[in-house]
Amino acid sequence: MILGGGGAPTPGAFGTTGRGPRLLGAGGRRATVISTASTVAVLAVLAAIFLLAPGSAQVRHTFFNPADMWQSFIGNPKKGYYSVGEALWLNIRMFITAEILILIFALVIALVRRSTGPVMFPFRVLSMIYVDFFRGVPLLLVILAIGFGVPALRLPFVSVQAVAVYGVAALVLSYSAYVSEVYRAGLNSVHQSQVAAARSLGLSQATTLRHVVLPQAVRNVIPPLLNDFISLQKDTALVGVLGAIEANEAAQIYSSTVFNYSSYTVAAILFLLLTIPLARFTDRVVDRDRRRRLAGVGQ
C-alpha cells in the first residue's frame, strides 16, 4: 500500500501524451540532439538531390515559380483563368454539405444492414448491394455518371441543378458506402451484453439503440470516420471533371493557359491547409480516447 500509487495513473507515464515524447521516442536530451541532427541530414540530402538534379531549374520554374503561384492564387478572368483560392471555397462548401449528408445516410444504411426482423429482409439485401456496388465503382465514374447522366434525363428540377449538386450527390453515394461499414464495425464492437442489460432494465429496442449502443459505437469509430472525411476533402477536387471551377480545376485552367504547373502547387498547399487541421484534430481525439481508457474509469 504505497500511498503515491493509488488512483488513476498519470497519462504522461505511458508516453502517450504530449506531441514531443511520442514523436521522438524515449531517451531525453541526447536523443533530441541526435534526432535533430539526423533530421537535418536527411532534409539536406533530399534538398541536394532536388537542387542538383539536371532538370532542377526547369522543375522549380514549372512547379514552384512564385510569380505564377501568386497569379494563380489571385486569378485574372481577363487573362483566361480563375483564382485558385476563391475556387477552394466551392470545395469547402461541397465537403461540408457532403459530410453532413454522409453521416446521416451511412448510419441509416448501417442500421438497416444490422436489422434482424424478417420484414426488413429486402432492405437488408438492398443495402448490401448498395454498399458492394458503390465501394466497388471508382468515385470518378460515379461523378461522371451522375453529373452527365442526370441532366441528360431532362427531368424538371432534378436535371437542372448546379454542377456542384451532382458532385455532392456522387460523393454522398460513394462515401456513404464506406462510412456505413465504419458505422457497422462500431455497432458490432458494442458487446451483446450491453443490449441485454439495457433490455432487462426495461428499455425499448429503440431507446437501447439510441442511449446505449450508438453512443459507444460512434465513439469507437470516430478516428476512422475522421480519416474518411480527410479523404473526402481531397476528393471534392474530382467534381472538377463536371465543369465546376473548384480549386483543382482552377489550377488546371491556369496551368494549361500559361503552360506552368505552379498553380497545382498552390492548390496542393491549400488542400494541405484544409486537411492538416482535421488530421491533428483526429490525433487529439484518438489520444484523448486512449487516455480515458487507460485510466480505466468510465467518464
Binding site: T62, F63, K78, G80, P151, Y254, T257
Partner: protein, 276 residues
Amino acid sequence: MTAGLAACGSSSSSSSGSGSSSATATSCSNSAIQPDLYQKGQLTVATDQPAYPPWFENNDPANGKGYESAVAYAIAKLLGFTTSQVKWAYEPFNASYAPGPKKFDFDINEISYTPQRATAVTFSSSYYDVQQALVALKNGPIATGHSPAQLKTYVYGDQVGTTSLAFITSQIQPTAQPRVYQTLNDVKEALQTHQIAALVTDTPTAQYISSSEIPGTEMVAQFPSTGEHYGLLFSKGDPLVTCVNKAIATLKSNGTLQRLQKQYLQIYLGVPTIQP
C-alpha cells in the same frame, strides 16, 4: 527551298528566336537533322486522343487525312521523310507542356501560340490563323440574341485551358462563370443536355460540330481575329524548329497550306462575324 529560306525570317515571330541564328546556316537535309530527332530515322509526331475532324479524320492521324495530319505529312516530306517514317504518338494536351524531355519531335494539336506559353515550350510559326466561333442549339435564345450586351448573359462551356475559354473570359466576359470541362466531347455533351447555352471553339471545329456532329446545333457566328494562330509545339529550345519553320514557310509560299485549308477546313465566306 530557297523561297522557304527567305520567307522563314519574316514568318517566325517570337517563339523560335533563340536557336535560329546559329542554325540558319546548317542544312535541313534529312541526314543533317537526324541528331535532333527523338528517334533516329523517323519523325515522331504527337497529338491528343480522340483526334477531332476536321483536323484529323476517323480518329486516325496516320491516314494523312484532315488538315493537321496532311500538314504533318507535308512537313515530313519536305524534311525528307517517307510516309512510313512518320510515327504518331499520343500526347494529352495537359501533358504536352510538362517540363523535361518530350516523347515526340513536335506536337500538332490545335495549340495556340501565346507569349506566356512560349516561355515553357517552343512554337513553330503559324500553320493556321485562328478565329473563334460560337456554337449553340438551333432554337436557343443565343441564336437570335447575340449583341455584345446579350452575349454576357449566357452560361458558356469550354475545354479546360484553351484559348477559346480565355476568349470567353477575356473578350465576352459573361456574368456567370463558364463551365470548364476536361475534353471537348464533355463540352458537346453539356450543350446537348442544355447545361450550357453555347460553346466557343475555332471556326473549323465549330463548323464541323454544327454541320455533322451534333444535330440541332448551329454555328451562330464567328468573332473577329485576335491575331491568334496555331503552332507546332516543341520542347523548349529544340533546334529542329528551325528546319520545320522553313518547311512551313515553303508550304505557305507554294500554296500548299492554302490548298489544304480549302480541302479540309471549308471556311465558308458566309459565316457572319459578330463582336464579343
